[in-house]
């Protein structure tokens, strides 16, 4: 294997084993905030598919359902059809701009609190503490020999990992089918192969990424920390060790022995002990810092114990850091958050959301698409009239069967009929019954006198006959033989 020895004669390892991270339990406002977010996100993730939502007999009663087989997306009272996928695109754009907004205002808050990798890693680290004990016990156990106790603890711990991972993988597939039915099918071996495969893959990824990879995902795999570095500016909040206040470090005893010779940092190492990614925040901002703020909690407790003001490690912008270093006071948090950049992001985010809500409110649930048959463009009928054929696609996007009328305008003397009718009984208008929540394809024949332009635009329209008269129309061409043909 080629190695740096060839170049420099020095030996540097090409590969580095993961260093164990055994974060110590900590309590404080940020820890409680993380608890709350973990509870909310996990309840949303595991619980959402089980919420029921009555849509009548023609649609599923699951509140949130991605029905891939029938190409429908249900979200409470909203039903999205495949051609309305731009709503999903809009949501993704909102999610992107939301991340810009959050990052420019409060830095890597997504990483620290809401990212699934963070939430599940946090959960698995609590399992570690539950089985192995806190930091010191974990380190002892990890470095100790393989005794029966260690083996038992490992088996139990990995068993719990696996249970959580399986539950996580299992919850995922519930979004794609009726949850109670799928659960029953799953355990009786009747679910689709893809369901078992998906659960297996997600169980494995949760088990490995949450149980073992942890901060390696953030440091080596995830692109977001790198992108965020570019998104942040000197007014974004960062978890900052205020070195101008803390340095030089020294214990309380040293400080008492040499008053004025030491900063506020008592070098208790608590900020390092509690860090879930195993970094030392006192080295400054770095890629491994997910800004979960647990070190702030730890440092504040230490400062309280020695009777010094809190906030030696705190959320702070680069601008404020410079000001405070020079002896001034930083800006109030309100001013940091409300500045043109964040307001523009927020404005765009809100505008997209409002536009989507508006268009959701305005959309009609009866849609018509007309296709002119090209071969033949026109048919000479025996009585001299000309017939054109069309294919109508009528989308009834409501969860009830509907009666609709289809009519033509702008084509004098025209009559229309479908392949179920006949020209003898043709009129200016036909009525159709549309099944609930479906696309109906109808072959439409339109006959008109031969006298007229070779190409003539006219309108085919549809409207509801059952209460809601709104509908849709399409302008389409009627072809006649050109002179001499």
């Amino acid at each position: 294997m080629a190695s740096p020895e060839d170049l420099s004669g020095q030996s540097a390892p090409l590969y580095e084993a993961r260093k164990g991270v055994y974060p110590k339990a900590v309590n404080g406002p940020f820890r409680r905030f993380k608890w709350a977010i973990m509870a909310v996100t996990l309840v949303i993730y595991y619980g959402t598919p089980w919420i029921r939502w009555d849509r009548g007999p023609y649609a599923p009663d699951q509140a949130v359902l991605v029905d891939l087989a029938n190409r429908r997306f249900y979200m409470f009272q909203i039903e999205i059809w495949p051609h309305e996928f731009y709503y999903v695109a809009g949501l993704l754009i909102m999610a992107g701009i939301g991340l810009f907004l959050v990052t420019s205002a409060v830095g890597r808050a997504w990483c620290g609190y809401a990212c699934p990798q963070t939430v599940w890693t946090d959960l698995f680290q609590h399992v570690d503490r539950l089985i192995d004990g806190d930091r010191n016990a974990q380190v002892r156990l990890a470095n100790g020999p393989w005794t029966a106790e260690k083996l038992a603890k490992r088996v139990i711990k990995y068993g719990i990992y696996l249970a959580i991972a399986f539950w996580t993988g299992g919850a995922w597939i519930m979004y794609f089918a009726d949850a109670p039915t799928l659960t029953a099918d799953f355990w009786t071996g009747q679910a689709a192969l893809v369901a078992y495969g998906t659960v297996a893959v997600l169980t494995a990824t949760t088990f490995i990424l949450g149980g073992f990879m942890r901060e390696q995902v953030c440091v080596y795999m995830c692109p977001w920390p790198r992108i965020q570095t570019a998104m942040m500016d000197e007014k974004s909040l960062l978890v900052t060790y205020k070195d101008w206040r803390g340095e030089p470090r020294g214990s309380v005893k040293k400080a008492q022995a040499h008053p004025g010779g030491f900063g506020d940092c008592i070098d208790c190492n608590q900020c390092v002990a509690v860090c879930p990614t195993g970094i030392d925040i006192r080295e400054g901002p770095q890629i491994g810092c997910i800004t979960c703020a647990l070190c702030i909690d730890a440092c504040d407790r230490a400062m309280a114990q020695v009777g010094r003001p809190r906030g030696l490690i705190d959320y702070c912008t680069l601008d404020d850091a410079a000001t405070e270093k020079a002896g001034g006071t930083g800006q109030p948090i309100r001013k940091t958050l409300l500045r043109p950049r964040t307001l523009i992001y927020f404005g765009v985010w809100t505008a997209i959301g409002a536009a989507m809500l508006f268009s959701l409110g305005q959309r009609t649930r009866l849609d018509l698409a007309v296709q002119h048959e090209r071969s033949p463009l026109f048919v000479q009928l025996s009585d001299g009239h000309i017939r054109n054929n069309y294919t109508l696609k009528l989308r009834n996007m409501e969860t009830r069967p509907r009666r609709v009328a289809v009519s033509v305008s702008g084509l004098p003397g025209a009559v229309l009929w479908t392949d179920a009718g006949s020209r003898e009984k043709a009129g200016q208008r036909i009525e159709l019954a549309l099944p609930a929540d479906s696309v109906t394809s109808v072959k439409l024949f339109v006959a008109a006198p031969a006298i007229g332009p070779a190409r003539q635009d006219f309108t085919i329209g549809t409207r509801g006959l059952d209460g809601d008269p709104r509908g849709d129309s399409d302008i389409i061409q009627f072809d006649r033989p050109e002179a001499g043909q």
């Binding site: 170049l7 993961r18 033949p376 048919v379 000479q380 009928l381 392949d419």
Partner: protein
């Protein structure tokens, strides 16, 4: 390698590689160990794949792999699965008389779709895509005018037995005499018949020529085309009073037709396609817009050899 300036980077504590390009240096950060294991895992995966699946190129093919998988085999499986899926529909169509199809909309729809697929393979060469026909050569199947009849059973018979197949007894057949070429009528007489035909199709006003033509028509043409030119489907004689002209309705075209008729031919498909495909083809042609609802009175009105 004299320009190597390996040093410890202050901010990260990591050694640099030693290269330097315009002040840009590269950190020699060690790769994570798990990455190495992932790399080994991909090698194992690759080896397993080469053993299990076709992979190693040989002179005329590749190694087959111990699983015996092939894309051709996949296709055969899919085709078999699809045939199995379609079997109930095909069997139901086979068991249903063609005249009963419209009463079963789902079966009719399946037949129209299957027929459309067969049409695109066997029929478009002459009748054109969508059955549009070719002017002065092959009839349109989409209009409301039929030479031999446009209800389901009649279409099925025509497709099965063809038109003017001399080696087939049940074929639809008739022969319009070549009035001009064989000297049955002279040029002036043909002109008079053309005038009459254009009169009954309301393309010309009544004239002395058309009056003479009326007599000639009654003597020579009415036996097949009917006294008023209303056509005769028993012999495939087209209606002459409507706006549809297979070989053209202007004076020149009509003169050419009477002088030397085409007597068009269609192959019979009975021996080449199975009865279900023919049934589906007929349903498709019927659905193109000109399908006639009336059931052909098979017993009484049938031709000499039982043609509907």
């Amino acid at each position: 390698m004299a320009d190597l300036k390996q040093r410890i980077d202050e901010a990260t504590g990591t050694s640099t590689v030693g290269h330097e390009w315009d002040g840009i240096e590269e950190l020699d950060t060690p790769m994570p160990r798990w990455w190495l294991w992932t790399f080994y895992a991909t090698i194992v995966w690759g080896l397993a794949y080469v053993i299990l699946y076709p992979a190693w190129p040989m002179v005329d093919s590749a190694t087959r792999g111990v699983l015996g998988w092939s894309s051709r085999g996949d296709l055969a499986k899919e085709m078999a699965a699809d045939a199995k899926r379609r079997a109930p529909t095909v069997n139901a169509i086979a068991a249903t008389a063609i005249t009963d199809l419209p009463a079963k909309p789902e079966l009719m729809q399946a037949a129209v779709q299957g027929g459309g697929a067969a049409f695109r393979v066997h029929c478009v060469q002459c009748h054109g895509a969508g059955g549009a026909g070719v002017k002065k050569l092959y009839p349109s199947l989409t209009d409301d005018d039929w030479l031999w009849g446009g209800d389901l059973a009649t279409i099925e018979y025509t497709v099965t037995h063809g038109i003017r197949n001399p080696d087939h007894k049940a074929t639809r057949t008739s022969l319009m005499p070549a009035f001009g070429r064989d000297g049955i009528l002279d040029a002036a007489q043909i002109g008079d018949v053309v005038s009459f035909v254009r009169t009954i199709s309301r393309q010309e006003k009544v004239s002395a020529s058309s009056s003479r033509g009326a007599t000639l028509f009654a003597d020579n043409c009415a036996v097949c085309h009917g006294a008023g030119g209303e056509g005769g489907r028993q012999v495939g004689a087209p209606k002459l009073t409507d706006a549809i002209w297979l070989y053209g309705g202007d004076r020149d075209s009509l003169t050419a037709t009477i002088t030397q008729p085409r007597n068009g031919v269609m192959p019979r498909w009975g021996g080449r396609l199975d009865p279900v495909t023919i049934k589906m083809l007929s349903a498709y042609v019927y659905s193109l817009g000109g399908g006639e609802k009336g059931l052909a009175p098979v017993a009484e009105g049938a031709g000499a050899d039982g043609q509907p």
